[in-house]
Structures are given as structure tokens and as C-alpha cells.
């Protein structure tokens, strides 16, 4: 009897898993179907790469430069991710391993910062970006994301579990603080670095509202905004839209699959 229910549970879970992946399967399959068969056949008569060709070349002529947008997104996401991981690794070190007056106050300030939801800052941040003359530049997306209170907090928490003896031993051997951070602390907090990097990358890659506000020039748009605008204006081109969606989704899914171990760790660490 127990065995019977176990089998039922597995069947239900497999069914649910398939149902949950189905939108991905449908998107991926449909992006290779001939236009006429996207909504009519589950298994097309033949597979075609025409939608990808269209998006990577013909869309250029429609003033919707997808390749450019893809490169913009890659550039923005890598710059921000690298800056956040690097700056958080250093500042987190100061907050957890250097005893200076005001350290506690600073740590509390960072927690205080994390209390405020991002949407509160959108309008005044736009005013700032406008005052700096950065509207319609990639800097408008990159600059507000360079450092993150959450990232610093995560690194500081993870450094706290590194015994001070390690650092003292390294310093006895004449290591500088920078060496300690780069060769000791970061390698020991590899999982934290991966979690911070991954969430930052996904967050910035997928950011939609902010770039929608600050970028109106098609050549400077990240992929998310360009895809949305293409979908609004050329809704009939379902195939190319799906191909674009695949390109927009792929990096996020790949990064998730590569770092899945750390992702599962990060959640069980409880992101309080």
C-alpha cells in the first residue's frame, strides 16, 4: 500500500515538473517552427532557423537592432556583476574583519538601507540621472547598480565564519590586506561570491522598468526593453518574438544551471 502511494507521488511530481517546464519547451520548440504552425501543430512538419535569422539580420532594417541590444545587455550585466562582487568582497571585509570605530553603526546602516524597496527610488533617481546628463546612455543603467548593500551584507556574514587565526597567520607571513581578501577570503567564500554574482546578474539582465524609463534610443536598449517594444509594435511576428525570448532567457537559465549547487545552498542559507 505504502509503495503504491509512493509511486503515485512520483507520477504527480513528474507530471507537475513537466507542466512547470512546459512554457519553456513550448517557447523553444515554437521558435524553430514555421510561422504557420506555431499555434496549430505541437510537432512541426520541419524545423527552421528562419526566425533567428530574421531577428539577427532583418530586424536591423526595421530599426530594431537585436544584436546590438544583446551586446548592450551582456556589457551592462557583466560590468555590474563584476563591480558588485568585487566591491562587496572588499567592503564586507572592512565590516567584518577590521576593527574600526563606527563599524557597528555602518553595519546597521547597511541593514537599514536594505529595508527600503527599490521602487521608492525610481523617480528621484531619474531626476539625478537627468541632472547628471546621463539619460539615454548605458551609464544610466550601470551606475546605480555598481554597489549593493545586500551584496556587502552577504559577504560580511560569510566572512564572519572565517576564523581570525587564518588572517593573523597570513599577516605573520607578511601578507597585505589586499592579498588576504583576494587569495584567502574570496576563495573561502566561493559560494557567497557565486550567490551574489548570480542574483546580481539575473537581476540586472532582467531589469525592465528602469531601462524602459532611462533609455529611448533603440541602439542603447538592453535586450529586455527592445524585445518588449518589438512585441508591442510588431506583434504579428510571433516567430521572431519567440526567438528573441529564447535569446533573452537562455543566459539566465544557463547561469542558473551552471551555479545550481550554489543556488540551492543560497536558499537554504536563508536570505533573511
Amino acid at each position: 500500500m505504502k509503495k503504491f502511494w509512493m509511486i503515485v507521488l512520483y507520477i504527480v511530481l513528474f507530471g507537475a515538473s513537466l507542466l512547470w517546464i512546459y512554457p519553456y519547451i513550448w517557447m523553444f520548440m515554437s521558435s524553430f517552427k514555421p510561422s504557420a504552425e506555431i499555434f496549430t501543430k505541437f510537432w512541426p512538419s520541419h524545423f527552421t532557423g528562419e526566425h533567428y535569422k530574421f531577428i539577427l539580420s532583418a530586424a536591423e532594417a526595421m530599426q530594431r537592432p537585436f544584436v546590438r541590444a544583446l551586446l548592450n545587455s551582456i556589457f551592462i550585466s557583466f560590468t555590474v556583476t563584476f563591480a558588485v562582487v568585487f566591491s562587496s568582497a572588499f567592503i564586507g571585509y572592512a565590516l567584518s574583519k577590521i576593527n574600526f570605530r563606527g563599524q557597528k553603526a555602518l553595519f546597521n546602516f547597511i541593514i537599514f538601507q536594505m529595508l527600503f524597496p527599490g521602487f521608492m527610488f525610481i523617480v528621484p533617481l531619474y531626476v539625478l540621472i537627468r541632472a547628471l546628463g546621463l539619460v539615454n546612455t548605458l551609464s544610466a543603467i550601470i551606475l546605480p547598480g555598481l554597489m549593493s548593500a545586500w551584496g556587502i551584507f552577504m559577504f560580511a556574514q560569510s566572512y564572519k565564519s572565517v576564523p581570525n587565526e587564518y588572517i593573523e597567520a597570513a599577516k605573520m607571513d607578511g601578507a597585505s590586506d589586499i592579498w588576504v581578501i583576494l587569495r584567502l577570503m574570496i576563495p573561502l567564500s566561493r559560494s557567497t561570491a557565486s550567490i551574489v554574482g548570480m542574483f546580481t546578474f539575473i537581476g540586472i539582465w532582467d531589469n525592465f522598468m528602469w531601462p524602459l524609463i532611462v533609455i529611448s534610443d533603440y541602439n542603447k536598449m538592453p535586450l529586455s526593453v527592445l524585445l518588449a517594444s518589438f512585441n508591442r509594435e510588431y506583434g504579428i511576428y510571433v516567430g521572431p518574438i519567440l526567438a528573441g525570448s529564447v535569446i533573452q532567457t537562455l543566459p539566465m537559465v544557463l547561469i542558473f544551471l551552471i551555479f545550481r549547487k550554489y543556488f540551492l545552498q543560497g536558499i537554504s542559507m536563508s536570505l533573511k
Binding site: M6, I21, F39, F100, V123, F208
Partner: protein, 291 residues
Amino acid sequence: MKTLKRRENIKGWSISSVYLVYTAIFWGYPFVWLFILALSKWNFLTPRRFIWFNNFIKLFMDDDFWRVVINTFNFMLYFIPMVLILSMLFALALTKVKYFKTFFMLSFLVAYVSSGVAYSIIFSKLFAVNGPLNKLTYSLFGVTIPWFSQPQLAILSIAMMVTWKFIGYYGLILYSGLVAIPKALYEAAELDGATRWIKFWKITLPLLNPSLVMVLVLCISLTFGIFTEPFLITGGGPMKRTYTFQMMIYTNAFQKLNPGYASALAIVTALISFGCVILTRKLIEREVSYS
């Protein structure tokens, strides 16, 4: 000794000052401006002037604002029970299975890393009048369902999409809470002849409280931040039933060119969201001890 302390102080502050300068520009300055704007009338171009609390007074007399408040709670009414029950079931199922655990986790989590824009587009196609889902209902029951054009269905559809996205993530939070409950408690309860239901109600749920509260808080914060899905799929319609706080902020600031009003709205939105979180904590949060 004293010099060492001074050196530490200098080192600590020099690293931290980089952050403080950055924060002053990209967090402090907007923070102050949020309140200045909320008390002003301005259209980005002509000189700004203070109108003090007029933005707030206007806001509370604005039908759109109350519409959005109702929409938000309407959404939560669908979303929170749905996502809680399903992610709870997912977490419980994970504790029962031995094989394929990682596969199940990953297949539910992959929804969590879907791109907001791409998944909004995909779901709008899947739920479209002639989309695969309606083809299925038509072949089974001979009806098509107007997923995005009937007001309550539109809210439900978006709630279902967001549920699809977050179940894996919330389920894992609950799962790590379940795993942390000591086995000895269950064994002791079994010796006293407790049934499954009693064990679930008396042990599992009370001890899972911290994880449950965390998921609830995440759900509430998320609800107040929804923008991409309604913006791309329904445009806030039908009859403004899927109009959200974020869309209203966006529309007022960047389409009606009224950043003051939008800032006042952002402050009120944050306050309502905090209020809901605090209320939830007061009502549901319990001290947990494993003894």
C-alpha cells in the same frame, strides 16, 4: 598598541568611505529628493514649487488610487493562498521522495530564473484566445476562456503566472524549514499515538513558522512591486482591474510628467506595504523553540 588601533581605524574608514561616497550619491540624494518631490509640483521643466501636502490630499481623492488599492488586495486574495498551499505541498513532497530530488527542485526553480519580459510574452501567447491552452479547453469542454479580457480572470491569470514563477523558490525555503525540524519530535509523538494530522498541525506547522512568515513577507513585498506582467500583457486593463501601484507610479511620473505626485504615491505604497508586513508578523509570527 595605540598606533595599531589607529591604523585599523584608518584602514576601515578608507575602505568604507568608498561605499559611503557612492551611497551618498546614488542612495542618499535620491532618498532626500523623494521627499522634496513628494511635497512639490513639477513637470521636469518649469521651476519646481512646494505645494506641501497637496499631492497626498489629491492622492486620497483619486479614484485611480483606490482602484489600485482594491486591485492589489484582490490579487493577494488569489495569489497568497495559491502560492502558499502549492509551495507547501511541493516542500512536503520533497521530504518524502528519495530519488530525482534535484531534478524536481531544478524543474520548479527554472521558472524562478525566467526573464520577466520573455515569460510575460510567452504566457500571453499561451493564454491567448487562439493559444494552446484555449485549444485544449475547447477540445475538452467546447469552451474558450477569456483569460485576459474578463476582469477577475485577468487578475487570476497574472496571479497564476507569478505563482508559476515563485513556487520553486518558496517551496525550497519551506523545504529547508521542514528539514530543520528534529526527527526525534515526530518519533516521540508517534510513541504517544499521534496521527499524521495531529503531527502536522501540532509539530510541523508551529515549527515551520519562521519559514512561513518569511515566505508571506516575500509574497507581500512582491505584490506591491509588480510591474512587468500587467504592463506588457494587459496594459492595466480590462477596466483598470490589473492596474498596479508600480504602473501608476510609472504613468504619473513619465507619461503625465508629474514626478511629485508619483513620489507621493511611492511613499504611500511603501507605507501600505510595510503596514501589511508588520500586520502579518504581528498576527502570525510566533517564537519557536525546538524543545
